[in-house]
């Protein structure tokens, strides 16, 4: 079976980015590290924040701070309006049908845990099977293992090939009457692979299994439309999308969210409480117990405004071009091997240097001002698959440019000098 890919290389007609203007929007990029200009290439871990996001958070705390959904006073109304306004932006960003389908959570990890514990414990039982892929982040493995332990379900793992692409034929073989849930990454954090999510969803739906898509590494880099993808759940984290940490989104089909029990109990998720019985609040509030990360939600709304202003298609085109340039540039380095060579990739360039551990690469690059990630990227099974203890990972964002890739390549040259 031929792999289908639903994410085309970004629209060719997207207007080019003015990267130098964009760089000026990110105050952190102006600093020097160890006397060298900062080259921040650890965007898959977390992205930097534009001034607009920083300002939105500051404005909230200096002018609007108040609790939401409960005050009759002016500040509470302002805060509620700003927070719920951010939810509308999220809904439009994802293409959700309504704001009832967009639940604010702490991040992708909490979104997956919410679905595993709420949907999973309510609807999965002994002998049922959950299908994930071999390229998942620990946060899309462990919550399902925990659920399997609780209900007696079984975890099935779709293998990947040596380029880091999911084996669709193997996936087809794993699907069956016992399949009750499928959970896969949209984009792999360790390899950069863009998965054919639309096809994955269609195949799962043919077996009546709902699908969660982990979009933590996708939302900042590709256009996401949950209707187009057809998925039942989609999660992403605000901090990788130029927004604050501690805020993220779970999208879920209304029909499924309605059927699911609450994840946590507390204030704001109820409509009526007596000691005999509690009536839960409407969606999405049923899943938002307690005072939420109000400033985070507002900051995320500002981040989405920022991305919309720049244009996600333009960002995608720029990052594709940069990834191709970096791939060419690093491939020419002696002893360097790129891990993750899928045909469809986004933003991530993982590599190993023969005879040099990734940690040592990371330290030497840091002294050149270059920030990358070195380690197992919370994807230890991926490292095992490729037979490496760790990789070095450069990952790109809208503000990175070719000069920074050149600096990266030169800094890797220094590593080779130290480790002759």
């Amino acid at each position: 079976m031929k792999a289908l890919h639903d994410i085309k290389p970004a629209a060719a007609n997207a207007p080019p980015l003015d990267v130098e203007r964009i760089r000026r929007d990110f105050p952190i990029l102006r600093q020097r590290v160890h006397g060298k200009p900062l080259v921040y290439l650890d965007n898959a871990a977390t992205a930097q924040k534009p001034q607009a996001v920083i300002d939105a958070i500051q404005r909230y705390y200096s002018k609007e701070n108040s609790n939401i959904h409960r005050g009759v006073h002016t500040l509470s109304e302002k805060a509620t309006e700003a927070y719920e306004g951010a939810r509308v932006k999220v809904k439009e960003f994802l293409g959700a049908s309504s704001t009832r389908e967009t639940v604010f959570v702490r991040g992708s990890t909490e979104g997956i845990n919410l679905v595993a514990q709420s949907y999973g414990r309510a609807f999965l039982k002994e002998g049922d099977e959950i299908v994930i892929s071999a390229m998942e982040h620990h946060s899309n493995i462990v919550p399902w293992q925990m659920l399997c332990g609780q209900v007696g379900a079984r975890l099935r793992v779709v293998p990947i090939n040596h380029d880091g692409e999911m084996l669709i034929d193997e996936y087809a073989r794993l699907l069956g009457p016992r399949t009750r849930f499928v959970s896969v990454a949209h984009v792999s954090n360790a390899l950069g692979t863009v998965n054919p999510v639309k096809q994955i969803v269609e195949m799962a739906h043919a077996h009546k299994a709902p699908v969660l898509v982990d979009g933590a590494q996708a939302a900042p880099h590709v256009k996401v439309d949950v209707q187009e993808l057809g998925c039942d759940f989609y999660v992403f984290s605000g901090h990788k999308l130029y927004g604050p940490t501690g805020i993220g989104v779970l999208y879920g089909r209304e029909r499924l969210l309605e059927a699911m029990p609450p994840y946590q109990g507390g204030g704001d998720m109820i409509s009526l409480v007596t000691f005999e019985k509690t009536h839960y609040n409407n969606l999405p509030y049923k899943f938002e117990a307690g005072t939420p990360h109000i400033a985070g939600g507002i900051g995320l709304g500002a981040a989405i405004d920022y991305i919309n202003g720049v244009g996600i298609d333009s960002v995608a085109a720029h990052e594709q071009e940069l990834l191709a340039y970096a791939t060419r540039s690093l491939s020419a380095i002696d002893r360097l091997r790129i891990i993750g060579t899928a045909r469809e990739k986004a933003s991530v360039l993982s590599f190993v240097l023969d005879g040099v551990h990734a940690h040592d690469i990371g330290t030497i690059l840091d002294r050149e001002g270059v920030a990358i990630r070195a380690g197992h990227h919370c994807a230890m099974p991926v490292m095992q698959r490729f037979g490496v203890p760790a990789t070095a990972r450069a990952s790109f964002a809208c503000y990175n440019n070719r000069e920074e890739v050149d600096t990266l390549a030169r800094a890797i040259g220094k590593v080779s000098e130290v480790f002759k």
């Binding site: 551990h357 040592d360 330290t363 030497i364 002294r367 380690g375 197992h376 230890m380 203890p389 480790f419």
Partner: protein, 150 residues
């Protein structure tokens, strides 16, 4: 570049390239595993004790240059030492790695191990250097389970 060349001294690079006692020790009577959850470094330390003296010590595992060199130098320096002497060396090395001692004292008291002193300028790498030492200590104590730097 000077801090970097302090870190990656020739002796460190040499131990990384050709680690000493890098093998499973047949007939070891003490063994412990160490693990750094931050970076995934893994190490197993084997010890043979004869009347309180470390007659043989070896290691296996995977890790960065610093963790490998530290483990290798550790095994080379502890052979023939009593458990008490090994404990005292552990304490001095730990002090050096965390920047709690002066270079002159280190050089005098620790000899070749003083080559690890450059690590103290790289806080993110201290755990790489201490992993093998923590693992050795738990092997000597005969502790079950896995030593961790966390």
């Amino acid at each position: 570049m000077s801090e970097l060349s302090d870190l990656y001294q020739e002796v460190i690079l040499d131990h990384n390239r050709s680690p000493r006692n890098f093998k499973k020790l047949e007939g070891a009577d003490r063994k412990a595993e160490g693990y750094n959850p931050l970076c995934g470094d893994q190490i197993t330390v084997y010890v043979k004790l004869e009347s309180g003296v470390i007659s043989e010590v070896s290691f296996q595992g995977s890790g960065c240059a610093i963790s490998k060199a530290s483990a290798s130098m550790m095994t080379a320096s502890l052979k023939g030492k009593t458990v008490e002497e090994a404990d005292a060396i552990f304490d001095r090395v730990h002090k050096m790695l965390t920047g709690g001692s002066s270079p002159a004292v280190d050089a005098e008291e620790l000899g070749k191990l003083a080559a690890l002193s450059g690590v103290s300028n790289f806080p993110a790498r201290v755990k790489c250097a201490t992993l093998s030492w923590h693992t050795l200590r738990s092997a000597l104590k005969g502790e079950r389970g896995v030593a961790s730097t966390e």
